[in-house]
């Protein structure tokens, strides 16, 4: 690879990054301005959020079960199986709940946002809206962003709750009663963990919505372009989620001192 190619790739990368931030900034500037498009928000919340509930709960259930199973196997030799509730809770609520729920939503919803907006771009519906005098950031981006910001923490909470249930199903096989299971949780967690576990998905929701909208609105080249965009949006938002999970955790750790 010669220097010119690298140069071009870097330029492209920074142009995309700049575009992404520009869209995010515009959206933030306009998200609290009229018109609010409540109906669009409700539709998107239902389509992007509520419809992902089942898949997030399923993810939570099995992850909770497998975490409990692993923990129980480890704890048994030390006769410490009563700690299983706490171990499941701490891994799920702080890490796996937010990340797995967000990854599922990125795959399911990120691609859907991109495909929908991308199709609107290539069929000139977005142009038509602009000519009708509509601000497409307010009309198309803001409601999706708001829906994701609200939905993802809720979905994560649902996944967390179900994972604790899944953990208990496994623990009960090892003779642990519900009281013991629940008592283990506060031994491993403080209230701040719960907050962190909800801040993360809110931020990931922002990443998913903005990436989906940015890639969708910049779609070129017909049906093939829409397919490429959807694929790209899922990859980019998944990678961003994993990257920012690390950075957010690092920030939380630093602030705790």
């Amino acid at each position: 690879m010669n220097i010119a190619v690298i140069d071009k790739i870097m330029l492209n990368f920074f142009a995309e990054l700049q575009g992404w931030f520009a869209l995010a900034a515009t959206t933030f500037a306009r998200v609290f301005r009229r018109p609010y498009y409540y109906r669009e928000f409700a539709v998107q919340f239902d389509k992007l959020g509520f419809s992902s509930l089942f898949i997030c709960m399923l993810t939570g259930l099995f992850t909770g079960m497998v975490m409990a199973l692993q923990a129980l196997v480890q704890l048994k030799p030390f006769a410490a199986t009563s700690y299983v509730g706490g171990m499941v809770a701490v891994t799920m609520i702080k890490e796996l709940g937010p990340v797995l729920a967000s990854l599922m939503v990125a795959g399911r919803v990120g691609s859907a946002i991109t495909a929908e907006l991308g199709t609107m771009v290539v069929t000139e519906q977005v142009d038509a809206m602009r000519v009708e005098g509509t601000d497409i950031v307010k009309r198309l981006v803001a409601p999706r962003l708001k829906a994701m910001l609200l939905a993802l923490p809720l979905l994560t909470a649902a996944a967390d709750a179900v994972s604790l249930l899944g953990g208990y199903i496994m623990a009960s096989g090892y003779g642990i009663n519900p009281t013991m299971y629940l008592k283990g949780i506060p031994q491993f967690m403080v209230f701040q963990d719960l907050i962190e576990g909800l801040v993360k998905p809110t931020f990931f929701g922002f990443l998913i919505a903005m990436t989906g909208c940015y890639v969708g609105l910049n779609t070129r080249g017909g049906a093939e372009g829409v397919g490429n965009s959807a694929k790209q949006a899922v990859v980019v938002s998944s990678v961003l989620i994993l990257m920012f999970d690390f950075f957010l955790t690092k920030i939380f750790v630093v602030f705790r001192g």
């Binding site: 609107m120 142009d127 038509a128 000519v131 009708e132 005098g133 509509t134 601000d135």
Partner: protein, 250 residues
């Protein structure tokens, strides 16, 4: 004439990815003079319409709607001015999450100045003007190509524009569909709307326009009436009017 009641493009250049689509292009659409821009597929006809509407930013030159120069301005500044223009996109560009009625009444709903009942009255009137009243509650996916275009025309009319742009309105339609669209355009002109069509369909162009602009390789190579066009000695124009063996694979 070319005062406040025209849409103008001055010394406009536009390129995509290093490829010149338009170069030093001058164009003026005066109120009352219906025009057609002719050119082969991919010549940049759709691009001209989008530039005139401020949907694409030109690299140089400027676009003015009436007294307002829109180039370099944010959309929120010129969006009011632009409401004097409506466009019928090539595929109709109907919003597929909305019914035909919601599509046609889109701008009126957005502006929120009229009651739902008043909007429905206008929507029905526009739909009956284009002859697809029965489609009111259907979704765009349930319409034929010709119906989509007619609904798109109804949507363009709902906002009562002075100028209407048509992007290849007859491409892909059967002869009856073409006749319908032609007839609609003539009725609109009779009502005082000024039309600008881009197409490669000569019959429709001659039936609905007074002046013609010929686009070839990013430049305007001809501008004039039908008679002037037929008399023109520019080879590309002659080839377009009457393709001969020489025009194969050029």
């Amino acid at each position: 004439m070319s005062g406040s009641d025209s849409i103008r493009m001055e010394k406009l250049s536009y390129s995509v990815g290093g490829r010149k689509i338009l170069e030093d292009f001058d164009f003026c659409l005066d109120r009352g003079v219906n025009r057609t821009i002719l050119g082969v597929s991919g010549a940049g006809k759709t691009t001209i319409l989008k530039l005139l509407l401020g949907l694409l930013p030109p690299q140089s030159g400027r676009v003015c709607i009436g007294d307002v120069c829109i180039t370099g301005q944010p959309e929120s500044i010129f969006s009011e001015q632009r409401k004097r223009i409506a466009i019928v996109f090539q595929g109709g560009a109907l919003f597929d999450s909305m019914t035909v009625g919601e599509n046609v009444g889109y701008r009126l709903f957005e502006e929120g100045r009229l009651s739902e009942g008043e909007i429905e009255g206008i929507v029905r009137e526009k739909l009956s003007f284009v002859g697809v009243e029965e489609a009111l509650n259907l979704y765009p996916a349930e319409l034929s190509g010709g119906m989509k275009k007619r609904v798109a025309i109804a949507r363009a009319l709902a906002a009562n524009p002075d100028f209407i742009f048509f992007d290849e309105p007859t491409t892909g339609l059967d002869p009856i569909g073409v006749y319908n669209i032609c007839n609609l355009m003539q009725r609109l002109q009779a009502e005082g709307k000024t039309t600008l069509m881009v197409t490669h369909d000569l019959a429709t162009a001659f039936a609905t326009s007074e002046r013609f602009t010929f686009l070839h390789q990013a430049r305007m190579i001809f501008e004039g009436t039908e008679a002037e066009m037929r008399a023109s000695t520019i080879p590309e124009v002659q080839q377009f009017l009457q393709p001969t063996k020489e025009s194969l694979f050029v």
